[in-house]
């Protein structure tokens, strides 16, 4: 049966950008309806980083890579809470040099560190952003030791996590990771926001003084008339929706991502176990553009990381407790495009890495291998198909100075910049507060806004900017 809803503000998408927008506006008395294409699932509806999570929460099952040479597999969520439901919850504020870059040449106004500070603080309080009181995990400790031996700058990154009390020194920390379904979505609902999962927005049109969201729920039309619309579907689906609606200027033309290459390391002592947690240690010595950190190291991921080294005959059965996976990433260029394709609900994503990016990635993986050897690794398995197992620093000469496009296995979880913000009309799709240029009361409020790759985990930046923009909309900034 066709449904029709009238409201003041429609929020399309319930990831970090959408959730904080809905919570902020509802709390200030706005009549808000938030729609989400995916289902409403609890944070613990499936084990984290599992194939069950792929089944339940990943868009396209995780199989819509950015096409290029090489292809870059990417992960997007399709559920209430969006990416916050499937990530590790690592948190950074936007670095000062990145804010400077966004102020010029993109000409983003009101983007000093002091402008964002209250928004960072509000998000950090709501999400319980903190360091692990139990100290670094075993994989983190290896990274820390390696960096310190080389004299490289390293830091533990805080996470949005509610830790339980420590019972005794050295005990495994327990607690609960935070996400949008744990924080801003319940806040929005208790302030009166109507959340409707299972609704896909197909198109936006202007109807006299209001916006109309043409959506579909279970193959039936679902229409929303709203005074204002916030599009918060993420860096891929937001430009796709705007382009389907005929809004194309600087939309989906400058997608940025952080391509990462992984290295599986074998140590002499145990670093992995049944309850292995993701490490929060990162190395920022070469940032930007290069950053390094710990990755998910469960057995399926170890098998995947070492798959191309099958000829090396790694015995995972015997070794997995002594193994952990690390990543080296670069802040990739704004070189991607997002385009709709006839007969397909999913858009086509293209992303081209330049020769200099492949050289940066080669440098990044060499740095990471050096660090892991310094930390005591005995064997390394870099994500370059056909590469022999590395057993000492001398073996690093086998890594080419420019990674081969046909054998390099990249991945990414961070996507941004498909609708960059700012007052520079030639570069940006929306203004400094997210309003689409030339379209009154139509806003973008998610990772698409970020002018470039931020070089750090982006969710702190997304949340702070989205809160800032929502408050600006209410003139309560």
């Amino acid at each position: 049966m066709a449904e029709f809803v009238r409201c003041q503000v429609a929020v399309v998408g319930s990831g970090p950008g959408g959730a904080i927008t809905a919570a902020t506006l509802s709390a200030r008395g706005f009549d808000v309806v938030m729609i989400e294409e995916g289902p409403y699932l609890k944070l613990d509806s499936c084990p984290p980083f599992s194939i069950e999570e792929m089944r339940q929460k990943y868009r396209c099952g995780g199989l819509n890579p950015a096409l290029g040479a090489p292809n870059v597999p990417l992960v997007e969520a399709r559920c209430v809470g969006g990416g916050s439901e499937i990530n590790a919850g690592l948190y950074h504020r936007t670095p000062a040099d990145i804010l400077q870059l966004w102020r010029d040449p993109f000409k983003v106004q009101h983007l000093e560190e002091t402008d964002l500070l209250p928004h960072f603080e509000a998000c950090e309080s709501a999400l319980s952003v903190q360091l692990n009181p139990g100290g670094p995990t075993a994989p983190s400790l290896k990274m820390k030791i390696g960096a310190e031996r080389l004299g490289w700058k390293t830091m533990e990154v805080p996470r949005w996590y509610k830790y339980a009390q420590i019972e005794a020194p050295g005990t495994r920390m327990t607690g609960r990771r935070q996400s949008m379904t744990e924080t801003f979505i319940p806040s929005a609902q208790s302030a009166g926001c109507r959340l409707v999962p299972g609704v896909r927005a197909e198109k936006l049109t202007r109807a006299r003084a209001h916006w109309r969201v043409h959506a579909v729920r279970q193959a039936e039309p679902f229409t929303i008339d709203a005074d204002a619309v916030f599009v918060c579907c993420g860096a891929i689906e937001t430009p796709a929706l705007l382009r389907r609606s005929g809004i194309k200027k600087n939309v989906g033309n400058a997608l940025a991502l952080s391509p990462m290459i992984k290295v599986a390391a074998v140590f002499e002592d145990d670093v992995n176990g049944e309850y292995a947690d993701i490490g929060a240690q990162q190395v920022k010595e070469f940032s930007p553009p290069i950053s390094m950190g710990c990755s998910i190291s469960s057995l399926p991921y170890l098998a995947l990381a070492t798959m191309d080294h099958l000829d090396g005959g790694i015995d995972l059965k015997r070794l997995w407790r002594r193994m952990s996976i690390y990543y080296a990433a670069i802040a990739g260029p704004n070189a991607g495009v997002v385009r709709n394709v006839p007969l397909s609900r999913a858009p086509l994503i293209r992303y081209s890495l330049r020769a200099e990016d492949m050289r940066d990635l080669a440098t990044a993986v060499i740095y990471l291998c050096r660090l892991l050897f310094a930390a005591g690794a005995t064997e390394l398995y870099p994500g370059i198909a056909g590469t022999a197992v590395l057993r000492s620093e001398a073996d690093l000469t086998r890594i080419p100075s420019e990674l081969p496009r046909d054998r390099t296995n990249l991945t990414t979880v961070h996507l941004f910049s498909s609708c960059p913000m700012g007052q520079a009309l030639d570069l940006t799709a929306v203004d400094s507060f997210g309003q689409v240029h030339g379209y009154k009361n139509l806003f973008v409020n998610d990772a698409s806004l970020l002018c470039t790759a931020p070089g750090v985990n982006p969710q702190g930046s997304i949340l702070a900017l989205a809160r800032r923009n929502a408050l600006h909309f209410t003139k309560d900034l």
């Binding site: 995780g62 798959m307 191309d308 995972l316």
Partner: protein
């Protein structure tokens, strides 16, 4: 999906899983139906502009060496399936390698996610 394609994909997943299973803890399995089921499920979720080329390449894979072997891939005994997977895995032609890598990634994820494989269940 055509029965020919699902049988080819199941046989391909079987061949990949058998070669990988020695690395997992626990006794090798006798059936990999769950692995094939996961791969088929994920394929159905792919955007059509990506799944069609994959299925086309899979179809070619299933019929290649037909004249030499006298049978389709899924009808051959395990050892001969293994040989063909290895030929495509090490092919000089990138799309052949890419196809095997695509199926191997999914099959390996499913195989090592089985209960009792002794692996770490990552915590949040």
């Amino acid at each position: 999906m055509l029965p020919y394609l699902s049988k080819t994909i199941s046989a391909l997943c079987d061949a990949i899983a058998v070669t990988q299973d020695h690395r997992a803890a626990g006794a090798p399995a006798t059936s990999y139906d769950d692995v094939a089921e996961f791969v088929l499920e994920q394929l159905r979720k792919m955007p059509p502009f990506l799944s069609w080329p994959v299925l086309l390449a899979t179809s070619a894979f299933g019929m290649s060496r037909l004249l030499l072997e006298g049978s389709l891939f899924y009808k051959r005994p395990w050892q001969r399936r293994y040989v063909q997977v290895e030929i495509w895995r090490h092919s000089r032609f990138g799309p052949c390698r890419g196809l095997i890598r695509f199926y191997s990634s999914l099959a390996v994820l499913a195989l090592y996610s089985r209960r009792g494989t002794g692996g770490a269940a990552a915590s949040r």
